[in-house]
């Protein structure tokens, strides 16, 4: 998906020994929204915004080692190795020839090196230069700033399409609020900006400004407007929507002491997992301290100061735990962390209470959202059918109010509360409204200038769509069998129109599809090279539904 922005110049920070001015350049193509204020809680803000930066740059996907150079070298020298090996057959003549060829080769390579070295040097210099000059290229999507009557919040989503961050600041964070206009806008963001954030001190005045006017101090010859075109992969947008849609679902909620997060980070920093399962297992028993088990080491953290107050026992596993290291900087400034869990393999939310600020870290089920995890809970499935007029009414009310609970809107419009929440969750899925887990309200927030093509984004591929239909319409039976190594085998039948399919799959302890088979033509044709077939996805979805805690 292509996003076009036209920022009012670059975001800048002017920092002197007495004061810091943060000026975010907003997207001028969107309806204007502005905010000018002076920071009050500077250090906490600094730590929080740094954590947000960590979300933006977070990329924990597996990056294989680049072995091309080595392979090139091997290919070059293979003949030599072979020749050396073969010397035992013919002693002198071969040796001489080898020596001769070696000498020639050395000469040729020297010459090549001589000829090519300026090029290599220049190329390296060029890449260094690009790295230096165009660091912004590393950032995927500039953060979104939303100004609401009660708070100002920043949102961002990581490069690896799995981590969501939201920093909400209510107006107590600011001292002198000069002016603001509610709305949402994208802001220009750069690595240099992060460096300047680090210079916020509580003895310096710090002004925060989201202003289309911006500071117009020009030292270099930058353009008045900076036009940016960002081609976001569909999967990125889908990931974002999935995570924010997950927030509207009912959650299991408990508080953690900051030092509990510290303990998790400590274990993660100290140990390295070399095999699966790589999950974080929450064991929640009413009235007992929250117990966290880090697999595969089996290390337990008993959060003695965090008592679970829910009324049912749960055991929930989450993955992608290294993403929690983002919270590290918040430990000294946070009062507590509220954890919202949806269920095993589903997104999880960590809300840091920073007093007048709150930092929400949303984690998708897994760091990598590849097909091996497909077929889990469909977060973008419509929750409730609500007619369009109601939807529009609800949205109009939101536009007026900016933020509201579903009950408030229901009361105001005199519509059934369930319908209102249905409509609002639909808007959440479309990226136009978010649910604020911290204050339990819906907030109006248009992710992009034009509404996203939601229908196009819902499914990754046609098989997912077919699976969703099968789950709704077809008769699905499944049978689960645990295996010795902790994985489980899922077999079942899916009744199609003409034929009954018998998919079967093995899911490992990390909820990854390890192996699978089906008797449908898609599987016969492609095996798993193009991902699982719709029948596998359907029985997996059916099975997962049965596992939902709530």
């Amino acid at each position: 998906m292509l996003f076009n922005y036209r920022f009012a110049g670059n975001s800048t920070v002017t920092s002197t020994s007495h004061m810091t001015g943060l000026s975010f350049a907003p997207d001028t193509l969107r309806e204007s929204a502005w905010f000018v204020g002076k920071l009050h809680k500077k250090l906490s803000f600094r730590e929080a915004i740094s954590a947000l930066h960590d979300v933006v740059i977070s990329d924990l996907r597996f990056k294989p080692k680049d072995k091309t150079e080595y392979k090139e070298w091997v290919a070059q020298n293979e003949a030599l190795f072979l020749a050396e090996y073969m010397t035992s057959y013919d002693a002198n003549a071969a040796n001489q020839r080898i020596e001769q060829i070696k000498a020639e080769l050395v000469e040729v390579r020297e010459q090549k090196e001589k000829l090519m070295s300026p090029f290599y040097k220049a190329r390296k210099k060029y890449f260094d230069y690009i790295y230096e000059k165009n660091r912004e290229a590393w950032i995927v999507l500039d953060p979104v700033i939303t100004i609401h009557p009660d708070e100002l919040f920043f949102e961002c989503f990581s490069q690896d399409e799995s981590t969501y961050g939201k920093l909400g600041c209510n107006y107590n964070v600011f001292k002198e609020i000069d002016d603001y206009k509610c709305g949402t806008t994208n802001v220009d963001y750069s690595a240099a900006l992060y460096e300047e954030f680090q210079k916020i001190r509580d003895y310096k005045e710090t002004e925060l400004k989201v202003d289309p006017g911006g500071f117009t101090v020009q030292t270099t010859n930058e353009e008045q407007y900076k036009e940016v075109k960002i081609d976001l992969p569909d999967s990125w947008v889908r990931g974002f929507l999935q995570v924010s849609s997950a927030m509207t679902l009912p959650t299991i909620q408990f508080d953690l002491h900051p030092m509990d997060i510290y303990s998790i980070c400590l274990l993660l920093r100290r140990f390295k997992e070399k095999r699966g399962p790589r999950s974080l297992r929450y064991i929640l028993e009413p009235g007992h301290p929250v117990k966290i088990v880090l697999e595969p080491w089996g290390k337990e953290i008993i959060c003695a100061r965090s008592i679970y107050t829910g009324n049912a026992k749960h055991e929930i596993r989450t993955w992608g735990r290294r993403r929690l290291l983002i919270l590290e900087r918040l430990i000294p400034v946070a009062r507590k962390f509220t954890v919202h869990l949806l269920g095993t393999g589903l997104p999880a939310f960590y809300i840091a209470d920073l007093g007048d600020m709150s930092f929400t870290l949303g984690l998708s089920g897994w760091t990598t959202n590849d097909w091996s995890h497909a077929g889990n809970f469909d977060l973008l499935a419509p929750r409730m059918t609500v007619d369009d007029t109601t939807k529009q009414k609800v949205f109009a009310a939101m536009q007026k109010e900016w933020l509201a609970t579903s009950q408030q809107i229901a009361k105001q419009l005199n519509i059934d509360t369930a319908k209102v929440s249905g409509a609002l969750s639909a808007y959440t899925q479309a990226g136009r409204v978010i649910y604020d887990l911290n204050s339990n309200v819906y907030r109006l927030r248009e992710l992009s200038r034009e509404p996203l093509p939601f229908e196009k984004l819902r499914f990754d591929n046609p098989r997912e769509e077919q699976a969703a239909q099968l789950v709704q319409s077809a008769e699905i039976k499944f049978f689960r069998k645990g295996m010795e190594d902790g994985s489980m085998q899922l077999t079942g039948t899916v009744k199609g129109t003409r034929k009954t399919y018998n998919p079967q799959m093995v899911i490992d302890a990390d909820e990854k599809i390890k192996s699978a088979s089906c008797d449908c033509s898609f599987y016969i044709e492609n095996k798993l090279y193009k991902g699982p077939c719709e029948h596998m996805l359907a029985i997996r979805q059916a099975f997962n539904k049965s596992r939902m805690p709530i």
């Binding site: 002197t16 730590e47 230096e132 000059k133 210079k199 510290y262 303990s263 400590l266 400034v333």
Partner: protein, 1105 residues
Amino acid sequence: MRLVKQSFLYFKEGNSDKVYEIDLCDVGNDKYVVNFRYGRKGSTLKEGSKTPVPVPLAEAEKIYGAVEQEKLLKGYTTSESGVSSIPKTTAFKLNTDVTISTDWTLMPNGRTKAILQRLNAAVLGNSIVNRAKWKLSRVIWKAGEYKVKEAAPYLIKLFNTGDAIHQYSCTWALARCGNESAAKALQQIHNEHPSPVISKIAGAGLLAVLNGPEKESHLTYYINSLPVEIKSAVEANQPKALDTLLQERITQQQPQYNWLESLYLVSVERKWVRASIKKIVGQLQLKPGYFKHIRAVFKLAELLDDFEICGLLACRFEREEAFFSHNVSSGDTESKSYIETAGEYLNPHVELKKKNTRLAYSKRTRRYLGLRVNRHLQGLGKTNNPDYVKLATAILIAYDRNRDFKEAFSRFEYRWNGRTHARVQLFFPQNAQAVFMHRILSGDHPQLKLISNSIWRLKSEQELKGNARSNTPAPGQTKQSDTGIFKKIAGLFGKKKDTAVPESIPVHKQETAPANENGTPFLHLWNKLPQSYIQLLMEAQMDEIHEFAKGALTTHPAYDEIKQKLDKKACKRLLLSSFAIPAELGLSITMEKYSGQADADLVMAMLNSANISARNKGRQWAEANRESYFQQSDFIKDLIFAWHADTAQWAKELIKNSTLSSDVKNAVTGKSVAEMMAFIEMTATNEVLIKRAADTLFELLGSELQQVPVAIIGDLLLHPVPPVLLFGLKILQAKKQQINLQELNKSLLFALLQHSYAPVREMGVSLLSSISDETLLKYQEEITVCSVSSFQNVRQGLAAVIGRMAQKEKAFGDRIAETLMPCLLRKETSEGLHDDVSRLLCNELSGHLQNANKETALNLLYSNYAAAQNVGVVILEKYTDPAQLTIPQVIALGGHENLNVRSWCWNFYKEQVSRIKYEKEAAIKLLESKWQDTRQFAMQYFRDYFTENDWSQEALITLADSIKPDVEAYGRELITRFFDGAQGTTYLLKLSQHPSEKMHLFATNYLERYAADDVAKIESLEFYFRSVLTRVNKSRIAKNRIYHFLLTEGRKSEAAAKAVSGILSDISATAAIGDKAKCIEVLLQLKSLYEVTTPLQVKEIETRA
């Protein structure tokens, strides 16, 4: 549906009486249809439509017209009578009213008699009595082939008796063997025959038959049929104009080339047109659009016994590949074959019939034409017709060494020798693919074999042995194997053929006919026309042909007589040949005939010969007769323009060492200039020659050249060949003392700078630089334009000139600098432009950049091109008042990607120390630069120039606040160096807020001294304590120091203890056991001293009984 147009067509012939009706109807919405009906007149007509879907009017009209035209061509008429206006073959009747007067019965028995006998029988309607039954048309054709004059009346009589092919044959034969008596018949056929092919043949025949004014009027008919421009060129007798016109016409493909045939026929009579025709026939591609005319010309040439054109085309057919090949059998109009040149699947038979066919000259056509030429050739030879030699000569002359030469080669094949497949090396002679050449030169050689009509091969030993065994060579047929070209061929492979071919004694034929050692077919015919050897020597372009001609000529019994006939012109021509053999022969003949009494021009020819000994001989003769030769200015001029470098060098010395009268000198100069003017083409050899001649001229006749009048120099300057133009320029330069260069035409002068020939541009530049400044200043605009010329040498050459002008007149310098600067901000139009302009601005014009203001400088500095940035630096250095720039701007320049800009910034710092100190708050930001070299410079700079007094505490803290590790470390270094005890508290409070671990550790240094005994401070440092203690797995030392500090402080007072326990209570929840233990220890101690709340619960130790 509304009828718009309708036409009725009728056809009546014999029993056939039919109608064809076409309608054009409007169906509404601007759509039209074309319908038709047809059938026998009066019956119900069958209907159909030409438009499956309605079409716009224009298209419908087109379809309508096409249908109508098609039917009309088929013979339908618009008149109800039904008789077509288009004449039909059947309708044509030749007036056969002739009397056969020749009595052939008296002729001796032979070919002619037999033909006439058969023709006579045909005319009388008798059945033919001969053994072999021939088709009549074949008899007729043979009559034409042998030009049997007596057959003409029979041909006329027989004309009406057959079909189109028959009539074609008759016409062809008539055209060849007719005399004036046949003219009438041919005229009638030409004028009235419906078939254009036959009529054309008749027309060509008329040219051969007619005489005097009748021929002229017939020729006018052809001239009139030419396109207007060509016609006027032909009528005006302008070979050059015609040539260019034709070139133009063939380079841009025209829809049709019908005029080609007419022009060819014109050229038969108008001899001067012939050169153009030959050229164009040699050039036209054998491709659709051209080929059919080429073929028509070929046929006409054959008809008219025009061997020159025939030979030329025969050679082309052999040398050039077919345009396409296909495998669709003839008559098959269904199946398709992929044709690469058309890029499509096509049925070639259908496609070839189309009007705008995309095909022509198939592989089959090429093969047919090759066979036809060969048949023609062999036919001529077998009938002992001397025309054989003419055709063969024409074909041989058409070969071109540059184009056709191929080395001899060999290749291996596996041959079954009865037991195994043996590896046999097969040898191919030089130019093995030249089928006709080998056939003509050595077609009968026993050791040569033509493979599949496309390549000649030397027979292998085995083949030769087989031959020898099967038929012992008849003494007359065996050729001596180790002479002639065969020796050369065999020598190439170092093979001894002696074993292969049995040694045979050269056959002594009659004294008149020399031995045919090359296996040349029909050598006796060749020997009848020995002048053809001379022609071959002069015109052929292949070594083998020369060898053949020379061998045959020198052994010819009439060689001496022939030699006597060779005049000076012929000798010169031979000498000047670029091939070794003719040149050598030329030399030997010249030496024989002219020894000691050669004319100057002959000596010159020797000097220009490709043969080295000819050149040496020429030198000898020239030196011997120097006195007389040097009286002739032409000779001296020719010496100057000698073709070979060594001769030219020798000639130069010779002329230098001899005294020439001034008259001669002047004449030589004049003639040399004329010679220069005579060059029309720019080729590599010409270029060298002109250059050499020009140098020699300047060296020998420098003063005379200065006398060349200005008008002539002007002509030279307009000459299309660049080196000649350069010569003119050199004269001009040499003459500059005498004439005022100001008078030079301005546009001419600047045109030189745009010239595509580099030396001319250089000359132009050097001319410009020799012009006085005053004049130059008149050319300001042009020079400005040229300073951004797309030619590098002009740009660079003009730099000095511009510099001089700018020095002379400052305003010009300023102006040009201003014009040039924006060009640096745009993408460069030619490579190196930016660099050159930048260099010019930085060096020659560096004194003229003062008008550039700060904004321009910054624009240049931040542009995308290094060249522009460099100019920006110069402006900054020279003209920008440092006071104009703010310190942030300077610092931004310090972060510029161009090193020159950065170093400018560094210099700025070094020079403006006082200002930097004054604005130090802003100035120290240089340390934040993203370029490491700038940061390093800045650190060194501040170390060197800033003393303790220059650093304020704020500045130091700002430094330390950086998150660049090196700057941060530098900050710490400076703080430590300039530490003032009084400010310690501030340092502690401010630095402790830094997010980096190193700074955390650094801040612990101040803890004991500045925070001890102060509860308020401990409270204000709470964030610091917390953030250090919650660093995961980091800052161990700082953590320990803080634990220690907290313990000691907490013990001091209750307030402090409360603050400490508040922090540690939270930290104590850690999972790190060391830290946890420490927290518990501290908390326990504090708890034991003061009333503090801790999360600790002391459990009693269980006592066991």
